[in-house]
């Protein structure tokens, strides 16, 4: 049986429409050999969590540039936990001030990538931390 590819969902929670980074990452993950699901903009945390479970992804990458990450990112993790899906890794990116990093880590976001992070560094992080689940 061929090895299952890493399944990644790129998600845009909230009303923010700044999707340039999210779409570049989706394409980069595809080029890196991952299975990619991109939600498009304007997803509620509930929609993101439900889609992640439905699509059986290994990792959710949340992108937010509007400042709403402090509320929306932890909410996604919480919903995954409630649905017994805390084995799905959640990472985040966007315009996120350093002072918010700790509260996001505490809430269960496993890594945060901000402007200037190279695509390769994000792909490497995923390869190092995620084992494709069978």
């Amino acid at each position: 049986m061929p090895e299952r590819k890493i399944r990644v969902m790129v998600a845009k929670p909230g009303l923010d429409g700044h999707d340039r980074g999210a779409r570049i990452l989706a394409r980069c993950f595809r080029d890196a050999g991952f299975e990619v699901i991109y939600t498009g903009c304007h997803q509620t945390p509930e929609q993101v969590a439900a889609a992640a479970i439905q699509e059986d992804v290994d990792l959710v990458g949340l992108s937010c540039l509007s400042g709403a990450h402090r509320i929306l990112f932890p909410r996604v993790v919480e919903l995954l936990r409630e649905k017994n899906a805390s084995d799905i890794t959640v990472i985040g990116g966007g315009i996120i001030p350093e002072q918010d990093f700790q509260m996001l880590y505490d809430a269960g976001i496993q890594a945060i990538f901000t402007p200037g992070a190279s695509l390769d560094s994000i792909v490497d992080w995923i390869r190092t931390h995620i084992q494709a689940r069978n």
Partner: protein
């Protein structure tokens, strides 16, 4: 351009000699880069000469300011008559917070206002909607009702200051609030001036604040254009925008072409739907472009934009009024060119971009603050940004003469090249059946995604450089103070809404929403009904819900 036979002969000879010299020099001294290209990846030649302008006719292609093809500007007196409008985009927290920032900016010499709304307002949701969670007041000001709006414009002289509002799907609602507020303050509609962005096509293409599908979205825009032409003649009912297309990763040519093709789509829709001739409304169509970091590419893009639009209006639509041929535009410096790393460098970038806008002949300008890549701008940062414009206008001498780069072999040649490439796109989209059809098949979205991805790959490979990011990066940082919006703004908005819902005349609200629903269905202009609804204190979302109910909702197809 015309050059005498003698000049042409001399030029050819000199160029040949120079080329030989270059080949010799390269044998021992190679260039320091493999490729010299614009930020949009257009290859640039080492030298431009009269031969590059052999097919450029001075009278036909360049001409005089205030004359067709308006390459050199719409105004016969250039910036001597008046400089561009200093119009800083601002909005944050509550209506009162934003009003205070506006008064500060006006005291400091700003000459026009420009409103940034928060995401719930931009998307047509009230602050108490579950969708607004975490977003209220964050990226701009939260406006739910006419009462909020009146607080926003408190003590602003509506008959003297023009106000631009970056609002798209709910543009009818916010404009209705402006009109109602003017009436309350005793300023007649024919005296208020300003702009609503109200350009939905670029939302589907790039910015992603949408509500209803493309077709009805365009219909609402045609209503505003008609209403403006009849009752609010000093208002720009649309600002056809390339800014966001560029920010999403488009090249300069894509920005130029897609924006102008959007403009064509709107004109066609209005002519099809409304009993108006092109000259009845075309003079009030306005545009909005990005000024990115590549100085000459941006100048040429703006010059080409004016020339293309003049040709479109004259030849495609048969416009007769010279003002219909004018492309009037606002420019904002490129947010996407700024870096979170070494943020003080952003002042330099913004200055160069502002210079490009001015040399390109903009009518109005926003200069980004150095901290906008991190948060909403602080008072200090926004002051530097405003002063940047004032220094350009009053110290540098760039206003002294009109279109100072005209006639440059390079500038005219690049202007021609960008125009030619833009026409190719326009013709391609025409062949697809127009912009709505092109959007439905994902064409402009994917062209931009390709360009954005290419650029990112070039950054990773260091083929393109961002100082402080992929070259000259340093560990030591000089952090800037961050502006934070208190979560209390959201709580206060929710309290206000609750209070308003209790005391307003709910029967009047329902009636005005029912009238609006009927207008949506029977094709009558929605604007008068919107104005009545906001006066009756219907909320923004209640009005937008009518649109959603009648026209349906558009969902992001998530193309990448």
């Amino acid at each position: 351009m015309y050059f005498s036979d003698e000049t042409q002969k001399a030029s050819r000879k000199l160029t040949e000699q120079w080329q030989a010299n270059v080949q010799n020099t390269l044998k021992t001294n190679t260039d320091w880069k493999n490729r010299f290209s614009t930020v949009s990846d257009l290859d640039i030649k080492r030298l431009y000469t009269p031969e590059d302008l052999q097919n450029t006719d001075f009278a036909r292609d360049i001409g005089a300011p205030g004359e067709f093809p308006y390459l050199r500007g719409n105004q016969v007196t250039g910036y001597r008559g008046q400089p561009w409008t200093f119009r800083m985009f601002s909005g944050m927290g509550s209506a009162e917070d934003t009003n205070a920032r506006w008064h500060l900016l006006l005291r400091e010499g700003q000459t026009g206002l420009s409103t940034a709304f928060d995401f719930p307002t931009l998307m047509g949701y009230d602050s108490d909607s579950p969708k607004a969670l975490g977003e209220v007041g964050k990226c701009g000001v939260a406006i739910d009702t006419l009462e909020d709006f009146l607080a926003l414009i408190d003590d602003i002289p509506l008959d003297r200051v023009t106000t631009s509002m970056t609002i798209n799907p709910p543009a009818t609602v916010l404009w209705a609030m402006y009109c109602a507020a003017a009436e309350i303050k005793g300023v007649p509609l024919n005296q208020i001036g300003g702009t609503i962005q109200n350009d939905m096509l670029k939302e589907f293409i790039a910015q992603k604040t949408f509500m209803c599908p493309p077709e009805p979205s365009v219909r609402l825009i045609s209503d505003t254009v008609e209403f403006g032409a009849k009752y609010v003649p000093r208002w720009n009912p649309i600002s056809i925008s390339g800014y966001h297309i560029r920010e999403a990763g488009a090249t300069a040519v894509q920005e130029l072409a897609f924006t102008l093709r959007d403009g064509i789509e709107y004109v066609e829709d209005i002519l099809r739907r409304k009993k108006m001739s092109v000259d009845d409304f075309a003079p009030r169509l306005s545009f909005f472009f990005n000024a990115h970091i590549d100085l000459f590419e941006e100048i040429c893009k703006l010059r080409a934009a004016r020339r293309i639009w003049a040709k479109v209006m004259r030849d495609r639509f048969g416009a007769k009024n010279p003002r219909s041929l004018w492309m009037r535009f606002h420019v904002q410096t490129a947010g996407c060119s700024l870096t979170a790393q070494q943020p003080y460098n952003n002042v330099v970038r913004t200055t160069i971009e502002a210079l490009a806008a001015v040399l390109g002949g903009t009518q109005s300008l926003h200069t980004n603050s150095l901290d906008e890549v991190l948060c909403l701008p602080s008072e200090h940062a926004v002051e530097i940004a405003l002063r940047t414009q004032q220094i350009l206008a009053e110290e540098t001498g760039v206003v002294n003469t009109i279109d100072p780069l005209a006639g440059s072999y390079f500038v005219e040649s690049l202007t021609n090249e960008m125009e030619a490439k833009a026409w190719e796109y326009i013709e391609k989209i025409d062949a697809m059946g127009g912009m709505v059809a092109a959007i439905e098949r994902g064409y402009p979205q994917m062209e931009i995604a390709d360009a954005a991805y290419t650029f990112q790959r070039q950054i990773e490979a260091k083929e393109k450089i961002m100082v402080g990011v992929n070259k000259y990066a340093t560990e030591a940082q000089h952090p800037v103070p961050l502006v934070e919006i208190d979560e209390k703004v959201g709580e206060e908005q929710i309290r206000r809404l609750k209070d308003l819902r209790r005391r307003r005349d709910s029967r009047a609200v329902s009636q005005s929403l029912a009238d609006l629903r009927a207008a949506c269905k029977n094709g009558a202009n929605v604007m008068p009904h919107c104005i009545t609804a906001v006066k009756n204190l219907a909320t923004e979302q209640e009005i937008c819900d009518v649109y959603r109910e009648v026209y349906g909702e558009y969902r992001d197809p998530g193309l990448y």
